[in-house]
Every structure is written in structure tokens, then in C-alpha cells.
Symmetry: C2
Amino acid sequence: MKFIQTPVKGMQDFLPSDMELRQHILAIIRGTYAQFGFNEIETPVMEHIENLTGKNGGENEKLIFKVLKRGADFQRGLAKVKADENGNLASEGDELADSALRYDLTVPLSRYYSCHKNDLPTPFKALQIGNVFRADRPQKGRFRQFTQCDIDIIGDNSNMAEIELIAATSKALTRIFSEVNVHGFTVHVNDRRILRAMALNAGFPEESVGEVFIILDKMDKIGIDGVKEELVREGYDEAAVNTYIGYFADLEDIPKDREGKEQVQIIADFITRTCGDKIEAGAADSLATIMQAAGGMIDKDITLKFDPTLVRGMGYYTGTIFEITIDNYSFSIAGGGRYDKMVGKFSGQDAPACGFSIGFERIYTILKDLNWAPKSESEKKAYLVDLKSASARVPEVFAKATAERADGRTVTVEPLKKNAKFQIDTLTKAGYTQVIKIYADTEL
Amino acid sequence: MKFIQTPVKGMQDFLPSDMELRQHILAIIRGTYAQFGFNEIETPVMEHIENLTGKNGGENEKLIFKVLKRGADFQRGLAKVKADENGNLASEGDELADSALRYDLTVPLSRYYSCHKNDLPTPFKALQIGNVFRADRPQKGRFRQFTQCDIDIIGDNSNMAEIELIAATSKALTRIFSEVNVHGFTVHVNDRRILRAMALNAGFPEESVGEVFIILDKMDKIGIDGVKEELVREGYDEAAVNTYIGYFADLEDIPKDREGKEQVQIIADFITRTCGDKIEAGAADSLATIMQAAGGMIDKDITLKFDPTLVRGMGYYTGTIFEITIDNYSFSIAGGGRYDKMVGKFSGQDAPACGFSIGFERIYTILKDLNWAPKSESEKKAYLVDLKSASARVPEVFAKATAERADGRTVTVEPLKKNAKFQIDTLTKAGYTQVIKIYADTEL
């Protein structure tokens, strides 16, 4: 059988320089979140297939990698696969798999919390960094295995959770990007309860709210006119569509600064005008508190903006939603929101939950495209032993290296290769400031 | 559909205290290997199924988790599944899977090196830390997803590679275990070429060498008499068996100290006596150099021992093999060896390679069983806001926390929960030395 050199389609190998950049970014993220009191946890990359196909993952559920059952379980599954009227076997693989690779970290966290809640603090501030898997069409910055960094607060139904999440994520991002002088972050904040009240107040029927969200979510790509056209095309009442589109007409008036009471008043007015009596009690106040408190915590050059067009794809959000964008980049680099109903699906008892996920691969790709590399902190030394003339000196060179390593230095000992120039150039590029060739008479 | 709270069978969730211990160990491993000049890399957890079923994995190949093909590929695979004479579908799943989860890090590294060798230094000193997957029967310290930490040197055919690997791995382990006052390490060293020559010299036929190794490998469990019995039972010539067993009769005479030339001479005598003219040129000298040089580098309280009973399961080893044990523990905590023929299976061109893998889960389990926890380095502070009386003070408390975090402190801000005692106890246990309850009149 022939072996294949390239990684599996859509997956990545990382060179040493890639890894240095990735670990540098991860160290900033870990350090920042630890300072905010988040506790790192880990869950397996494999999950029960039931947990991944229970409508928590939206479109992502179509992209899961299923893992084949084994042994007798596989044979029993295979026996359930039937032939159709043409004699062809018909299956989507569900009989053959009982687990799959996770598509996000939120479903595993909800399972984890419901399993271990008696051993966890309340509220529980969790950090999870791990690989997730989606059989997406591979494209730039989008992979089939990729790293996510999620913080979540479970067990806090107050909006202190949202404020901490926004402040912590903003701080991690500014720490990462200030090193490459990239600025221009916008934190977009909205609330599913406001989105819902706007749709109902415009005259859309209760059962259509989900579909209206999906169409509104395309605003970025098709613009306000595109949204209007699609709503009409889908057969919604034109009066409702016109009223709804009207709500978004003067978005420019929503201020982006976050000082003073003026912003709070303008947002309150917007909500009153667009939501009428359809808004749930407390939703408007919640948003105002978040905008004020988070506004006081994040760096001054970050824009914090109430964005009534923000939808976020996942069906599980129940309240506040947020997303972070950078000027001149077309994609968001972090997103999240409140999902108060998911833990209950595992434990039978709802627990308030809110999370913010950093799109690690996008950040990594931006920094890599800028050709940025973290500075190597320590001096590094290489001994290259010419084995033709100095093989007897190997123990001596290793003894020297051992002593220097004991002093905390980074030292490599290698045979001097035929192509010494290439070897030395590579070491120099990797940060070795001293490269010493050892011959029979080299003094050590 | 009901959701399942527990992790997938044989896989682990890690609590925050578990993660602190794991990351503490990993930081020591990363720091030590970096000091020795190893470069961290990463490969995907999924591999092409061809690469995982090509006889590089020995018994592990029976334990792979196969990943279902998707869409049209899956349907085409299903069409190839045939019914047997009884009308039952017959398949082992091979038609349905084109990738699988890796069972070790050595096969992915060989693929990686052959794919990227033009972008890598020569010799290439690689560190890979990652999860591997085996559908083993779960038992204490053995899991279906577990972390391995491998260092490998590719492109160095001299025994400087072995010396660096032994020195680096020993240093990492002593750094980890000195903190819990666990000592008594033994580094066992052998060479497949010696093992092979001993079997041939005793009179076993060429084609039986592999099976003789498998039986010898059981020495730990069944003793020398058990090995003898099993060889006879398998029908080998009794004279050959007696000669062979005789080689292992006076193992006690092989010295465990590693000072002076005496050890080298005794080992040389052993090899001459047991291998005769069957030994490959250079093998005995290679072992002697490794014992001498590595002996000079590792800590004085580590035993470095030539162990002619050491076999190591994998079929791919071509030269030196090694393993590390701790007194009073029945399992090895690290193992590896030279595998000069594997890279060639990917690139078509052999590259010398040698690796040492730390059994991370075993080390973690030992430290966890000792109830050992790394010391928290920084002072931590918690503000617990009573939202009934002091909700208006939320922005003020967050502002204070923001200022303290900017000074580098770890601060959490949370609502004061009904069960304040439990909340405060949990925070104290997690290292929060200051826990401040905020009411309407609390001074900040």
C-alpha cells in the first residue's frame, strides 16, 4: 500500500515557526483569561453522536465527522442497513456510528457542566481551548480541524457575565494585536429578545421569526435592499416587511461612542420605537447596563456598538449576543452570547450560561499574513561536531552542553552535516546566535 | 433524543485542578525540550487510513477509530459492501472509511517530515505533544484518548541522536518527579541488532526472530522459565532454546553503575559471548558510546542499564531501543528507539530517525494519585457583588477590577450567590486569598 505524504484534506501541519506564533497567541489568551479568573478545562474531541445531532449545532450538524462503531457493534449496525427497491444499500451512516468528532466546544461544555457540576464553583468561569472538526469546503482561513478558544460563565443569570466576557475577550484581542499595531476593533452587541420583539412588532407571525432572522443575517452580504427583496419573495406580508425594513433605516443615528447617558437614551428610544410592547421585561435595561459597564472596562480605542442587525447563526441563543470585527477584515474574529436552555438538555435542569469564542485560526492567519514572528527571548547556542575528525570528543561536548543547560541556556548538539552552510543558515534563522563547529583541535 | 452527560467510553473530562497539574507537567516538558533545541510541531489528529494500516503500528492498528466517509464517497463505499451467502452484509468497515484517528505520533511525524523536509533543518529535532486514540479496553491509567509527548531526531545516523534523546527525556522526568520527591529511575537500553544476533547465534532460524522477540518480551510477566516453556511449546529446537535461555542466566553480572571502562568491557564481553559473529559491525561500539556519553549527562541518581531483555513491541525499530521505569511502578513511563526505515515509506528515500516518547497519562496519574498540586504563583482576589443591595455598584466594582488587572493581578468579579459559604469556600480552595463581599455600603 502506498503511503500519503500530505495531511488529510482541509487539515494543517504546522512548521516550527508556525507553532511559535500559535503558542505565543495562545499564551496571551491563557494569561489574560486566567487574570480574569477563568479556569481551564478539557473535554475529549469525540462526543456521543446523540449530543451532536440534537439541533444545538445548526448547520454545523451537517458537517460532522462520524466515527465508525467497532467489532460486534459495527456488525449489528451493518445488519440494520437495508437495500432500497433497486437493491442498493440505503444509509446515511447513522446505523454505523455511535460517536463523532465535536464541531464546537459549547456542546461538550454543556455536557461537562451537567456531569461535573457538583465539583465546580458557582458561577463557573470556564476556559476551553481545543480542536473542533467540520467537514466544510476548505478555503483560506477555514479548515476541517481548527482550534477554538472559548470562555463561558455558567450559573450567572445576571448581566455581570456578559460584561466580564466582553471585557476579557476585548483585552485578550488588544494584547495580541497591539504587538502588530492592528487596531480598529468593534464589539457588536444585540439581544435575541430585541430581535424577536422587532419582528413581532413589525407584524411577522410568531412561527416565522426564525426564518426572518436567517434572512436578516444576510444583511452583510446582500444589504438592506436584498433583505427586503428576499422577505417579499418568501411571501411575507408587504406591510410587515416595509415596517421592519424601516426600523433599520436610521441605524446611523445609533451612537458608537460609549460615554455618558446619551447613548443609553438613544438605544432606549430605538427599542421603544421598534419593539413596542413586544419586548420582554428587563431586556432593554440589561442591554443598557452591559453597554455602560463594559464600555468603562475596554480600551478607549475599541468601538462598542449596539447593532440591531446582529443575528449570530446558532439557534440556541436566548438573550444577549455579541461579535467582534476588525476594520478592513470582512470576517468576525470572535462571537458568542447567552444560551440559558442548553445545559438543561443534559442535566434536566436549566442553568444560565453565556459564552464568547475566539476564532483562533483567523487571528493566527492575520498575524501570519503580516509575517510577524514573536521575539525569541533567550540566547541559543549550537555545537556542531565534525564526526570525521572529532568523534572522540562527543562525550566532552555533551558534558559542556549539559553544564550550560543546567545554567538555563538553550543548547543543541548535532553532528556537523556535509552541507554545513545550509545547516548553519537554518540554525541562525531559528535564533541560534552562537554556532560552534567542533573539530579535533577546537578549544571548548 | 436524550443527551448523554458522561464522556465517551474510555475518554476523560478534566476538572480545573486536573488541568493545572497537566499544564504544569507539560510546561516542564516543553521548557526542558526547548532547552535541548527541540522544535515543537503539530499534525492533525486525523490521518489517511492507508498510513495507519501499513504495518507500522503493530497491535495498535487493530485499535484504530475509523472515520466515516461523507456524502457521495460514503454512498460509493456502501455500494461496495456485499452480502455473504446467508444474505448478511459482510464488511470490516474498510469500504466506508478513508481516514482514521492516529494511534501514535510517530507515523504522523514520518509523514510530516517527508512532506515538509525542504522547510526543515537537518538534523531535525522535533517535539510533538498531542492526543492519540486507541480503542483499548479502558483500565486504570489507560484511556481511549490520551496525550503523548514525543521527541524525535530525524536526519542523524550517528548515535549522538540517542544520547541527546536519553539525556533530554531523563532531564524532563527528573524535573517533574523531583517536585514530588519520587526517585529511582532506570533507563534501560538495548539494540535490536543485538537482540537479533543473540537469537541467530543461539540457533533460531532467521524467519523465527520476530516471534522469538514477542515471547521474550513477556519476560516481565512470565519470567525466564515462562519464556523457556513457551519457546519449547511453540516447537523450537530445544538446544537453541537452552542456549538462548543460558544467555540470560547471569544478567545480574551486568553492572548498573555507569562510571569507568569496566562497564563497557563487561557489556562488550556479553555481546561477544551471546552474539558471536552474528552481530552487525558497529552495533557493540554504538551501544558503548551511548552508555558512556549519556551516562555522563544524566543525573547521578538515575540508573543507566544495558538490558538485553528489552524488546519494545513495535516492529519498526531498527537499532537502539530504550525505556524508562521507576522503582515500585510496574509500567514504563517512557520508551522509544531508532527507526531508520519508516520515513522512506512515505518519501521513497530513507532518513535515519530516532525517538523517545513520554507516557504523559502515566506520569499525570502518578502525580495525581500522590495528591500533588502545583503551587499557585500569584495572589488572587474575588469581588462578590450582592445584586439585591448593590447592583448599582456593578460598574464601579468592574472599574476597580479593571485597574487591578492592568497591574497584573488576577481578579474575578461575580454575583454573590445565595449559598455564599459554598461560593467562598470554593474560591478559597482555588487559591483566592482575598474574597470581598460588596454591599451598598462596602468601601472599595
